[in-house]
């Protein structure tokens, strides 16, 4: 009996230690701002000076919160490292400022708590600014986005009016959901009221599988994401020509954190002028969505 207790204790220790080891090691390999530092989301930032809102000239790390299930803006690449248009752009900003980029994948539902509590410095991940201006300090917009409807190719649905009486899926806590619930000018509550049901999903994969299986008729999402999903999944889907709205993506900072926001704005302008933004947009196939223009 004693022997087994000893073995079990040893195993426990080994796992405990390795769990700690794997996370703390990433802070030492800091320059490699890849999956290593991102995967150790919690403890990697231990090397940070601490306070988020103190003097910006002393900043050494830049903690970006993103949804890792949001290609092409933020996702896990073929090598298991976090990448995407937004993350590479953030990396470019960090390179200019000499900060270390810490990629922290967050639970999208708790993005506000993560930001307000200082766990992350900004939300940079296809983050729609329209309608959220009162809640965050936003950078200059960098992508012209629109919310669109994706339907099955053979569904016979060709316009938003055809969606009447249909079941429509939408990601929880997303801009598309807010839009479909908004009664204000430009909101689509009236359209949503014609749906048989507005179904909320945690992620686009389940939404697409349900769309494929026919248990829902359409999915509302951002055009960039829709393009990526259709490209990855192949034939069988189409985007309705009528968009629900047009809106902009920007980097969201904690309300009042203008100091950090100004630095990022300045860098974004510079990155636009030197062509980095256009280059990245090309790489991620979203060139026609970029709204930053070189001077």
């Amino acid at each position: 009996m004693k022997k087994y207790v000893a073995i079990l204790a040893a195993v426990c220790l080994a796992f405990g230690v390795s769990a700690c080891g794997s996370s703390s090691s990433s802070s030492s390999s800091g320059s490699e701002a890849s999956s290593a530092s991102a995967s150790a989301s919690g403890s990697a930032s231990a090397s940070a000076s601490g306070e988020a809102t103190t003097d910006e000239s002393e900043r050494t790390t830049f903690v970006v919160g993103f949804d890792a299930e949001y290609p092409p803006y933020g996702y896990m690449d073929d090598n298991g490292e976090y990448t995407g248009f937004d993350l590479e752009l953030a990396q470019a900003v960090c390179d200019m400022e000499g900060w270390e980029l810490v990629k922290t994948p967050i639970n999208w539902d708790s993005k506000d708590m993560e930001l307000n509590s200082g766990s992350i410095d900004c939300i940079w991940n296809g983050f729609t600014m329209n309608g959220r201006e009162d809640d965050y300090t936003f950078s200059i917009p960098y992508v012209d986005n629109s919310q669109v409807m994706v339907v099955a190719e053979d569904s016979g649905i060709n316009s938003l009016a055809d969606l009447s009486g249909k079941i429509v899926g939408v990601q929880a806590a997303s801009a598309a959901l807010t839009l479909l619930q908004s009664e204000e000018e430009g909101g689509q509550k009236a359209l949503a009221d014609t749906f048989a049901e507005l179904q909320e999903f945690a992620d686009y994969n389940s939404a697409f599988v349900e769309l494929q299986a026919g248990s829902i008729d359409a999915v509302a999402m951002d055009i960039g994401v829709a393009n990526y999903q259709i490209k990855t999944r192949g034939e069988g889907y189409k985007i309705l020509d009528e968009a629900l709205n047009t809106e902009q993506y920007a980097v969201g900072f904690k309300k009042g954190n203008t100091e950090l926001c100004d630095i990022v704005n300045k860098d974004l302008e510079e990155l636009t002028n030197n062509g980095t933004v256009a280059e990245l947009a090309e790489k991620y196939d979203i060139s026609d969505l970029i709204c930053l223009e070189a001077e």
Binding site: S39, E69, G118
Partner: protein
């Protein structure tokens, strides 16, 4: 993404899952025992406090508790919680599972016949000697199947660490699914969980056999 990269990513997530699992077991079992003492205490104040604790822990979702633990220092004191993510997860899981374990311990301890305490007293055993040498070994024997139940549930509950943005195995699986647009990572994740639980169940069964003397 190649299949081997996917396995690598899921394995690194599995290391984190296992970390949560073992830390929770190591901390919550002893804590549960002490909580069960409080629950059976003759002091009505202590007994009622512990009763409320167990009732809240069992009566509210674990996901909510995790979020409360993590954001509590910030919401109440405005503290910086950047390095608090992993500790918060362990604390959250531990206080939740301790409540369940406490009730399991209580069921075991209260099932012991009073005659054993009386006999031990007659033989000159002190109260603590009686408990440690006579009662506890029998209790462990009796409650092992219920403990196994909870431990297996814990393995699967580790996926709730996602609510605190901790990249445990299931979260990684979801990210790969989002990128690859296939269900394969979920199937692999299911196999990982099953194998882990299979091992847990086998180890526990082994202990049960070892402890089934006098039968």
């Amino acid at each position: 993404m190649s299949f081997s990269t996917m396995l690598m990513q899921l394995s690194s997530g599995m290391v984190k899952t296992t970390g949560i699992f073992f830390w929770t077991i190591i901390l919550s079992l002893p804590l549960g025992l002490f909580v069960s003492f409080g629950r059976m205490s003759k002091n009505p104040a202590l007994k009622n406090i512990v009763k409320i604790y167990i009732s809240v822990m069992r009566g509210t979702p674990l996901m909510l508790q995790l979020m409360m633990v993590y954001y509590f220092p910030y919401l109440l004191f405005g503290m910086n919680i950047r390095t608090f993510r992993f500790p918060a997860i362990i604390i959250g899981f531990t206080i939740n599972y301790a409540a369940y374990f406490a009730e399991i311990f209580r069921s075991g301890i209260e099932s012991m016949p009073v005659g054993q305490y009386e006999a031990a007293k007659l033989l000159g055993y002190s109260k603590s000697q009686t408990f440690i040498k006579i009662i506890l070994p029998q209790v462990i024997k009796r409650i092992l199947p219920s403990i196994t139940n909870e431990v297996i549930t814990l393995v699967k509950d580790t996926s709730l660490a996602f609510s605190l943005s901790y990249m445990e195995m299931f979260t990684v699986a979801k990210q790969i699914v989002a990128k690859e647009a296939t269900f394969t990572p979920f199937i692999v994740a299911a196999i990982f969980y099953y194998v882990f639980n299979f091992v847990v169940a086998a180890v526990m069964e082994h202990f049960e056999k070892k402890l089934s003397y006098y039968r």
